[in-house]
Amino acid sequence: MSLLSVENLEVSYGDFQAVRGASLELEAGQTIAIIGANGAGKSTLLNAIVGLNSQKRGTVRFDGQDITHLRTDRIARAGITMVPEGRRLFGTLTVEDNLMVGLAAERPGPWTIEAIYQLFPRLGELRSMVAGSLSGGQQQMVSIGRALMTNPRVLLCDEISLGLAPKVIGDIYRCFDAITASGVSVVLIEQNVVQACAASGYVYCMLEGRISLEGRPQDLTRAEITAAYFGTEVRT
């Protein structure tokens, strides 16, 4: 049985249906990626999983339990949290306070303040800085650290490479080895196909609210991915 399974999820904003029946599976310890162009419905799908979007149909199961209509904070306490797109830090709080907020989930585990500072030594130096004053890469580290402080079983990451320099992206992705080694299962949302394929064991491609392609990165050809990503025909 999968740790997290999404069955036929449909999500709407008023009249607009952003996700039109998407299904995916995440096994314990696995890292999967959801790729797709802007507006494909990736973020909407992620927000719906953690309950930030209420207009939805279908089922989300976590560890065998139906969590489709659970409130966001309950889902976090159950063990699913996210690193939101655009980081969404508590801008007026210090780095350390941002991390401390993660204790609200009341989930003990390996991820403590010290463990976060070990993962991102730079944050230790910046601990008393106001989060809003940090650079984009540093803010992304705070956002990931804050999510890890809840000791999640599933970590949903929404475009963590967005707007960051290639070197910073590399630094951040390197830390995911330690994160997955601690037993966290990860869902990555990426527009960067190369990055997504390198970091994950299974890839879903979304197009116009549907899963247009899925498979292990090594089994997918570049042409297939391109077609599924942009919605063009495969030329053989």
């Binding site: 953690v50 309950g51 930030l52 409130r71 966001t72 904070d73 976090a76 306490r77 949290t81 996210m82 939101p84 797109e85 655009g86 969404r88 830090l89 508590f90 801008g91 007026t92 709080l93 210090t94 306070d97 401390m100 907020v101 993660g102 204790l103 609200a104 989930a105 009341e106 989930r107 008393s128 800085m129 106001v130 809003g132 004053s133 804050r146 999510a147 402080m149 809840t150």
Partner: protein, 332 residues
């Protein structure tokens, strides 16, 4: 220049300051003349009003334009019950906190459905409804209000001193209690919800209850301060108790001083009473000066006088670690 890192004194130092100011205020009635004591009661009451609104706007992220609702409700609660049942009104003061907090709790499920400006105005509307209701009921004294009959048999000095001690305690609570709260886990949760409710929920914070707690607490504080203030003037009438002008004074004090800080309303209250002492005789000009001062502050220093001082000095008196809001809903 804004410093990203702000230093602040150790909690032990703040605790010492709390003890020292408690001793000073405990001794005040023995050294201060009765007329000055009366002014101090008013200053501390107005300061607590301002701090209750500052708490809601700056710490909880709830912008209300109806804080006078709780001032009036608290006052009427004490005047009515003490008058009808003959209970010592000082015993009723703590209950006025409970009454106003409970009233806020009943309103919350309705007003929390509204956002931003609609929320702000909804509480003002409730204040007007309550004011008009009281104005039409003879058993509530209608438009001419209620006198404080329960203290008539008591010794004048005892009444004045006890009122002073109550209001001094409220002022201390609204400084040091707020300091303690904002450093607690609840304070961190409040700050997180204020800064970004989606992110707060995503790490396990119950956004609705956190905000509810803040709203109820801030409303109760305004209520008990209102009750204490009107006990010092021995008479309450609906036009004065539910006067939106209370709201204007609170806004002035908090905007001038700096929203979301403990120090700001201390500065704001000082400036407000200095303004009043200097210009109150000038009639309408006084109100225009108040308005002009608030406008200039908003244009020159949107974070208030303390906001400017803090970033210039890189120091704060009450280091809550949770700095005031710049924008309480960050854009995507």
């Amino acid at each position: 220049m804004t410093r990203a890192s702000i230093s602040s004194p150790k909690p032990a130092l703040v605790a010492a300051a709390a003890a020292l100011s408690t001793i000073c205020l405990a001794l005040a009635p023995f050294v201060v003349r009765e007329g000055d004591l009366r002014l101090m009661i008013e200053i501390f009451a107005v300061f607590t009003f301002a701090q209750s609104w500052n708490f809601l706007a700056g710490y909880v992220g709830l912008m209300s334009f109806g804080q006078q609702l709780f001032i009036g409700l608290g006052a009427y609660f004490v005047f009515l019950i003490s008058g009808k049942a003959g209970i010592n009104p000082f015993l009723l003061l703590p209950l006025s906190f409970v009454f106003c907090a409970a009233f806020a709790a009943v309103c919350a499920p309705f007003v929390f459905r509204l956002r931003d400006a609609y929320f702000a105005i909804s509480i003002w509307v409730i204040a007007e409804v309550v004011r008009m209701f009281i104005s039409q009921k003879d058993w509530l004294g209608s438009v001419s209000g209620l006198p404080l009959v329960a203290t008539r048999g008591m010794d004048r000095t005892v009444v004045a001193n006890t009122t002073f001690y109550f209001v001094a305690a409220l002022a201390l609570i609204s400084v040091f209690g707020l300091y303690a709260l904002s450093r607690s886990r609840m304070g961190l949760a409040l700050a997180a919800v204020r800064d970004n409710e989606g992110s707060a929920a995503a790490v396990g914070i119950n956004v609705w209850w956190t905000r509810f707690f803040g709203f109820v607490l801030g409303s109760g504080l305004a209520g008990i301060a209102g009750a204490t203030y009107y006990m010092s003037v021995f008479h309450v009438e609906p036009g004065g108790a539910f006067d939106p002008n209370w709201m204007v004074i609170m806004l002035f004090i908090v905007i001038i001083g700096g929203v979301g800080t403990i120090e700001g309303p201390i500065i704001g209250t000082t400036i407000y009473f200095l303004f009043r002492a200097w210009f109150a005789g000038t009639g309408n000009l006084y109100l225009m000066l108040l308005g002009a001062a608030a406008v200039v502050t908003m244009l020159v220093a949107p974070k208030g006088i303390w906001g400017v001082l803090r970033s210039r000095l890189g120091f704060e008196l009450f280091g809550t670690r949770r700095l005031g809001p710049t924008n309480h809903r960050s854009s995507p």
